[in-house]
Symmetry: C2
Subunit: 365 residues, 2 copies
């Protein structure tokens, strides 16, 4: 049997169930342990996941510190609330564990820098849990964006990621808790908008950004953004805009426009359920002849043959597999922590702009 | 034979060929005369249009003043450059002619107010040439937006209208002349973005706007916007954003998002060539059960059965027909000049914000 990356899951957030399945399907990983503040909760989480997606050896329910001390664990997946994440990532790095970290990685870039530095010092991999980075759609999209005849020179990247939270969410979900998730919708959703824009721009940072909190909400006296819009000013005159919201029903579109065409992705974060991940290149042609004015649509659809979710080739499985390869390879890839840190830098600047009346804020990497 | 609205076309801009055909197909209008600075040019324009789309009685080539003095003309269509439009609209109103005016209607709202006031005083109809306002798609879209169970409460309206001008356009087209088209892409394209947002909002004005000239260009020492982005802050927390550009290839999408769903229009200005004008209501469903996370797409397509262009039921034909009905009805509809004026007010405020470093600018109707 080939060696496997032995994962510990630090917390029992719902999203960890998806990654449990991703690890199971990755082919190079096993969940060795799950930690919770109460062993009973970890036990229940394990039982429920095992009933659907069993590992041969049932993972062990443990406490947080016990998990980090375990010699049966190589890497930790950290879905803990952002507000307490730094503490545990630093402990994990100190314990020599590789870290796959949910987003937003930290409350601010200083926190993320501390995490990234700690992981580098410990020689362990750091990566944020942005699944779409691991879709086969992305290299396909890159090829199209790099094809000088398809989209041409880039001009604009725009995206929206939103869902309408229900009353229960607004009443009690940690994502509106100022202490646990101080970045609210900007951290939970805007992270994807910003990551996508940075990816399109090959991680060139914007020179400046503008942000606006359109709506905020406080459950514990510390308001968090529920709705946020921002603009990005990249070098060379490329600009971007994004909108994220807990008050607006599900949408996850992105448009990338250039001098020759545009790409539209309807579902850039979570591909629509099915057997492929797609995008469309739009190159309409306006045909004017005498009194005849016709706007012709000339879309070309590109699709990566991969499952949207829950299969061996789905993006979350690819993420677990890629992380496992890095762990097993023993040589951390510095580009992943760098991407996370840049995303947080831009996010911070957007929020700073918003807190400062929407003035343009420069970014210093 | 029923009475017909007798049109005079003031200028021979290319877009007038489309409206010639629209008038011909409207069923209640005829082109009686075409004016140009040189009679030869009007003659040639008439000959070319007649060869494709003939009127029984060949329209007369005339000079501008002659056209306005003609007792054979009830209404004028004004595709003249924005920079000289006010002068001729005021003259037309004084001559008792109804006015269908290309957009942007004026260089600023003061000009448009003067035109609108002159038309009101003369008892003639004023309307801007926004064809999409006359598509059968719009009442269908209104019905969906007003259906509390479809999109829900409005939150966000976003749109892009752009095309990449070629070197010839940038070298000599009047749309980049500061004297003739001082509003550049903001006037030529942004007018549609703003009109659509205002239409969605039932012409409630934004409380404030923000604008940014992303790129500008001067052929005559007076720079015009080539690329512009703006944000709109409506009462009740509804927000909008728009982007228009002469530097970015053809796109004309609009998204309207609410608490329950969203509407996507791919081609909100000029419907893609075909037999219908469509839009899609997006109501994705994120189904989470245990370790299974599925993002389901549940789009519903709505289409108005009408030609995109060049037929009796196309939006430009509907515009000519509706204007003809107003002329023949003898009772001007005050809502059309009001819509044009509001569009220009919002546009002015966006430009003012842009010229003032992107600060929020309030709108006073």
């Amino acid at each position: 049997m080939p060696p496997a990356c032995r994962w510990g899951i630090l917390g029992t957030a719902n999203i960890a169930r998806k990654n449990w399945k991703g690890i199971r399907l990755s082919g190079n990983g096993v969940v060795a342990a799950v930690a919770s503040r109460t062993p009973e909760r970890a036990r229940q989480f394990i039982a429920e996941c095992q009933s659907e997606v069993p590992f041969e050896q049932v993972p062990t329910p443990v406490g947080y510190d016990e998990l980090l001390a375990s010699t049966d664990v190589d890497a930790v997946y950290v879905p803990l609330p952002t507000g307490v994440r730094k503490e545990w990532v630093l402990k994990a790095a100190a314990a020599g564990k590789h870290v796959l970290c949910e987003k937003p990685c930290g409350a601010d870039a200083a926190e993320v820098k501390a995490m990234v530095d700690a992981c580098r010092a410990a020689g362990v991999q750091f990566m944020d849990g942005v699944m779409f980075m691991h879709s086969a759609r992305l290299p396909l999209l890159r090829k199209v964006l790099d094809d000088a005849d398809a989209v041409g020179e880039l001009r604009r990247v725009t995206s929206q990621f939103s869902f309408a939270a229900d009353a229960g969410f607004l009443g009690g979900n940690i994502r509106v808790s100022g202490a646990l998730e101080p970045l609210g919708a900007l951290g939970d959703l805007g992270w994807y908008n910003l990551r996508f824009a940075l990816w399109v721009m090959k991680f060139q940072l914007p020179e400046a950004v503008v942000g606006r909190v359109l709506n905020e909400y406080a459950t514990d006296g510390r308001p968090v953004p529920l709705e946020f819009a921002g603009e990005l000013f990249f070098p060379g005159g490329v600009t971007g805009s994004f909108y994220c919201s807990f008050r607006t029903e599900l949408q996850q579109w992105a448009h990338v426009s250039g001098t020759k065409g545009a790409v539209t992705v309807e579902d850039f974060v979570l591909p629509y359920h099915g057997a492929e991940s797609a995008f469309v290149v739009q190159r309409p042609h306006f045909r004017v002849r005498g009194t005849s004015f016709q706007m012709e649509s000339h879309p070309t659809r590109y699709a990566a043959a991969e499952a949207s979710d829950g299969r061996e080739d789905a993006q979350e499985t690819n993420m677990a597999r890629r992380f496992g390869e890095l762990v097993l390879g023993g040589k951390p890839d510095a580009s992943w922590p760098e991407m996370a840190l840049k995303t947080q830098l831009v996010l911070d600047a957007c929020l700073k702009s918003a807190r400062d009346g929407g003035r343009a804020v420069g970014i210093t990497g």
